[in-house]
Amino acid sequence: MAKRDEGGRPRVRGILKPSVGDEVEEELSFHVEMRVRELVAEGWSEADARAEALRRFGDLMRVKADCRRIAEERERSMRRMEFLAGLRQDVRYAFRQLMRSRAFAAAAVVMLALGIGATTAIFSVVDAVLLRSLPFPGAERLVIPETLNLENGDTWSVTYGDYLDWVDAGVFADVGLYQSVNVNISGGEASERVATALITGDFFAALGVAPVLGRLFQADDFVPGSPATAILSYGLWQRRFGGDRGIIGRSVRIAGVPTEVIAVLPRGLGFPRDVDLWLPLEVTPARRAIWERRDNFIFRSVARLAPGRTLEQTRSHLATLARQVERDHPDIRSNVTVTATPLGAWMVGAELSRALWLFLGAVVLVLLIGCVNVANLLLTRAAVRGRELAIRTALGAGRARIVRQLLTESVILALIGGAVGVAVAFWGVRVLVAAAPAEIPRLEEVALSPTALAFAAAVSLASAVLFGLAPALRASRGSPGAALGETSLRATAGAGTRRRRGALAAAELALSLVLLVAAGLVLRSFAQLRATDPGFETEGLLTFSLSLQGDRYDPDGVTASTFAELRRRMEAIPGIEKTAIVSSLPMGGGGFYLGRSFLAEGRPEPPQGEEVSGMWNVVSPDYFGTMRIPLLRGRDFSSADGAESTPVMIVNREFARRMFPDGDALGKRVRSWRDENLYREIVGIVGDVRFFGAGDEIRPLVYVPHPQNEWGSMVVVVRTAGDPMTVVGALRDAVRGLDPDLAVDDVQTMDQVFAASVAPRRFGSLLLGTFAGIAVVLAAIGIYGILSFGVTQRTREIGIRMALGARREDVLRMVVREAAVIALVGTVAGLAGALVVSRLLKSLLYQVSATDPVTFGGVVLLLIAVAVAASLAPARRAASVDPATTLRAE
């Protein structure tokens, strides 16, 4: 077979050959004609002879059909074999070629592996976080109902009353409510504080979750006063109970109460995030009265769309119900409606998903630059191989055949690059997961999945076409005669070729400029963020969470006195200078965040939306001293501010400014009239802190003394003389000494809190910075390669010019000018791209404009410098051309 392919014959015959059907027709009719002729010769009449011939032949139509089918099968299998034989030949030939120029092959593989590997690693994250569906049956029909402020688009949690409306109106197939709390589990070796969801009966029905062990909550479990029951996550079951299947029915101390474990849930549910324990939400009449208030947004909800209902229909149904609530409660619900967000999108959040797509886009740019470089290498090789290809063409290889041969080389390069790239990605995924901020959901699922591997293969093939097709088409063009003559006769490289290669280099510069600008903007934002003053001293501060739970803390005053006692014991520990408790940490460090609206004494109730609101903080005395938040006016709380004494509060400067724009806030009385409705005297004004993170705006905050607002779940802050982590053991002992049911949780230094609050931007800078760095190096290599090859090709031209009187400076200038033109074109194109891209970056920016002139200017200068630097070596080589030797050489 193979022998037949080599000559040109089968191809030519293929063109002239009639169809299979015609051939069969002709062959069979020849047979019949011959028979007729013979019979006529024997004396038959023409007509009889024909009838007899056909009779003897049998079923002509069937034979014809059979022959045709067999012939077609044969043709197909021959084409297949020819193709495979050709492919085998191409592959063998390609390997030989690549082995012959190992430096080229290695360079191409490294560049492709970097690009494909990085792209695959980022894709793995995108796949796990954004694309893979959640582990619930019909997860795409799960939604999160949320309250929506029509004025500013803010969304938040929902009220119990609204939930009852949805159930009554049958908006959803199933809808559940939950509240996130932290609960102590004790008994056994050590107590532990775990993230817990208090849920309504339909919660698991909505999610469609069945337990791996035991049964879900039933109606009885929700009745107040019934025996306490609990459901464990798979993780908690494994971690705390060693995966013991006998756990069902066993009693465990939860929140200081003996509780029966009734079920274990499947592994890896991931919603609500990090929850390890589920308890029934008990509805008492007293609670219900408070919950049903239409401005008591204290529940989260999850729901499954009703059968046959679209998301849009459900949203409009929710909006209709919300309008009725608005009519009934215009004072508290004006301009407030209810919407539903698909669970997957809600978990990830619009900002994160935009950032992830952006990173994928950025890494694809790196891959593109790599492809451009490889394309350029191929063009260079094609010029060198011009003779070889010309000979092959002269020997009868068609253009398609040569393109195929060259593409085979590209595909093999890309596949090797892809294979090495997968190794790069394997390593890259680990680095990514380790460096990624904890906010990214489902990070633990990020891995080189089969989807990611398929992606890597597809990207490899796509890049092979990308970098291989143009050079292959170019190389296969041109007549063999010209190509064979060319190398010896032509003195200059064609202007067209040079322009094309220049365009490639400019494209590389443009792409790296886009990346550099993106990285520069994010990096500057990160630097700004690091430089922000949080409003207190983060160094030497340790924080942990503690929840006082159980019957012993029910009597009034016990919680406050227990925390006071704990502070006394902690302050006796050597190395600890000051301690305090607070309901919610600044910098988004944890606790329970609560916003409330305030009104100064003697003022009328303002229309909704115009009241002064502030975050509500409950603190112990010495909180400001411990945090080193400056006390600007007045006094700190003291042990004299008890439950029975005058209600007092301390406010931050921002609150004072907003509530009393032209007066002294000190001594004034203020109430939070929708909730507490109790006048509190402002006894102090303190400095502002960044409340929700380093990049947060300055918000109004109020502080009230703990004995006057006795919360059980608090964050403890400890100022230490030395390394904060050294006192952790002593702190745990102090807590255990107080009550063995209590568990110390979320132990972290304030520096760690600060680092976590800047982590997303740090991650963004790290990624974009790495990509931009790779891009610049690749672009520099590319420009160097292009200019350097240009000089090699033009050695003869340069020699002639010098022989005609051009000076070294002229030659030097000629090459540098070429680089400058490339840099200019690349910069202009890149700036246009960067202006578009930087607008997409907005969510990652902090106190840096998307068109920051410093970043743009710096990047342009850097790239021009890179282009000039890359041109210097080729330019110097060009200038040192010796006209005599060059001209004699050919």
């Binding site: 051939e23 069969v24 002709e26 062959e27 069979l28 020849f30 047979h31 004609e33 011959m34 028979r35 002729r37 003897r56 032949f57 049998g58 079923d59 002509l60 069937r62 034979v63 059979d66 022959c67 067999i70 012939a71 099968e73 044969r74 299998s77």
Partner: protein, 111 residues
Amino acid sequence: MDKGRPDHLHGTLDALILKALAPGARHGYAIARWLEETTDEVLRIEEGSLYPALYRLEKRGWIEAEWGRSELGRRAKFYHLTERGWAALERETAEWARFAAAVSRVLLATG
């Protein structure tokens, strides 16, 4: 594929075609005529069934075809044996001989 003709007959037709081509290239009609003459019309096969057999042998790579001119100057398709065809002919012949000998031993045995 073909209507339930016993396999050995199928194989026999193939072997006969190979044999017909042993002296040199022939077109389909010539093969048919050769079969008629050499078998004294003992093996009455439908002429039409010759052609699917030829196509199958070609697909199998035992014979190859080329268009040429017939004795009367018409365009005709001539078949000839390939190397593999020759080998197949030898094999088939030997097998047939063994088969025939065995059958003869049984059928012609006395007593």
